[in-house]
Symmetry: C3
Subunit: 213 residues, 3 copies
């Protein structure tokens, strides 16, 4: 399986770290949480998507829970965010880039794992996206925000696009690593364009005015 | 298994479509969500209950995720709700009836699946109700409403009643289809009476006043 | 398995009852819920942690769902809380003690089950804590509170400590029951000290002011 190869694992752990950092910082900013809460939210952001993925794949126990390296990296990311929250606030841009990187890596590894286990193309695309946005969505529910995926700048769409590239590359018989790199690049570029230009996905005709919940 | 038979499948897909439509319309009405959010909420409403059911049954991967027809019907329901949200607002009554139909079908297929897999009567009743209300509950959490099941007109009770009928019919050796039809009818009638007369289940003695959250 | 032994089962059911009572009373106090909502929230508080644990362990269907005694005890706890909510309000102290007992028992049985199934020490500690706080967290999300675990007096820390003791005792070859009793005692004492002195875990430097959400 690609994701178990050294390169895949390294990328996966990098994404986990980025998500843990980002999730814990969101927790510090949004809610009045203590150290346990910050680390918990960092770990949930980092590991939640992979757990949702593995439940839907029936691949239990979840890989991110079985392998202590994921747990450790996620906990360390949360701890760093707790200790350095003030300093890290100033690093908003690199953290957003890190988060986009995590989104890209998770979309790609999620879709690849679904294909590896013999699931269809539609399922692989959905699972890629869910792996990428699942952890952040659970975090948002816990701190009582409307989940980012439901309302803000392009977040789910790049993840879906990255997963589509992975599935498409596999359909054309491209090597898994090539598809993964292409998919991650596509997701990353769309996400960063979305952040840079504050683009949003279309809203329903005649929907609620901005600012309203 | 009954639910895989043509009639069962058709009814199940009809319930899925009704729930997706209803879930997506709720999303449009309640929260400021974009197209991804609307379709996501439609799909979660339609498929969430079945996923919860299959997790508790240990029947992973979930049937509604494995079978692309469920995914497609749910996505199309959400898309239609997104495109036609204004027009559909006027159709509140048919949509409520559709939703009650979905509730009835899911309560019955959930309970039947638990019995098929050898679970006990109590578990089958609970699972029927969870299949019916699970998706809507997850949707309500995501858009930050107190879940309908916790507070509004009879919603969980008809689902429980329908599941009880299915379990009771099976205990008396009635054919599965008969029990399913009876159970769905009972659930549907109670639900529509609840909607029509705005009935609520009893509240705790001396509890909070209405209107308070 | 220890948790299946008569003593273990009795303690586990006592914890389940305490959590159901506490969860249902929280529901009555916080939200405008009807009888279905109160019992549902009681059952979710009592059984949710064990279900999360078994999903992560891949031990599906969840034990608390398979065994009707858990379902019954949880439902009865919720029903009693519904009927006697006014009288029970005056019993705040015994209920807090009961809840602390449930926390201790669940932390210990969760960690022990993970060890029994061959998981590592880190996973066992995390699972113990999750078993203990998972149900209450799901309940808080449903009634739209920021989960206790994220912000209030020592709640997750005693659960983690109790689980650490179980894992440590097993590492030293102590009998399972001894480790369980020691772990539960440690968790209980820390929790009650936390409640008694209203201690909180450390917050991030320069974080939000108290009272803010």
């Amino acid at each position: 399986m690609n994701t178990a190869a050294p390169l895949g694992l390294t990328l996966d752990l990098a994404g986990t770290f980025a998500f843990a950092l980002n999730g814990a910082l969101t927790a510090v900013r949004v809610a009045r949480v203590d150290i346990v809460g910050v680390i918990t939210l960092g770990m949930i952001t980092a590991l939640g998507g992979g757990i949702v993925r593995d439940v839907l794949l029936g691949a239990l126990p979840p890989a991110t829970f079985l392998d202590w390296r994921y747990l450790l990296v996620a906990a360390v990311g949360g701890l760093i965010a707790f200790a350095l929250s003030r300093q890290l606030e100033r690093l908003a841009t690199p953290i957003t880039v890190f988060d986009a990187l995590g989104l890209s890596l998770f979309a790609v590894t999620g879709a690849a794992k679904a294909l590896d286990l013999g699931f269809g193309a539609g399922q692989a695309v959905l699972l890629g996206a869910m792996t990428a946005v699942g952890g952040g969505t659970i975090r948002d529910v816990l701190v009582r925000r409307v989940p980012t995926i439901l309302q803000s700048e392009l977040y789910a769409i790049p993840a879906l696009a990255g997963a589509v590239v992975v599935v498409g590359a596999a359909a054309f018989g491209a090597p898994g690593l090539l598809g993964a790199l292409l998919g991650a690049a596509v997701c990353l570029v769309i996400r960063l364009i979305g952040v840079g230009f504050r683009l949003d996905a279309p809203r329903p005709p005649g929907g609620s005015a901005p600012g309203q919940v």
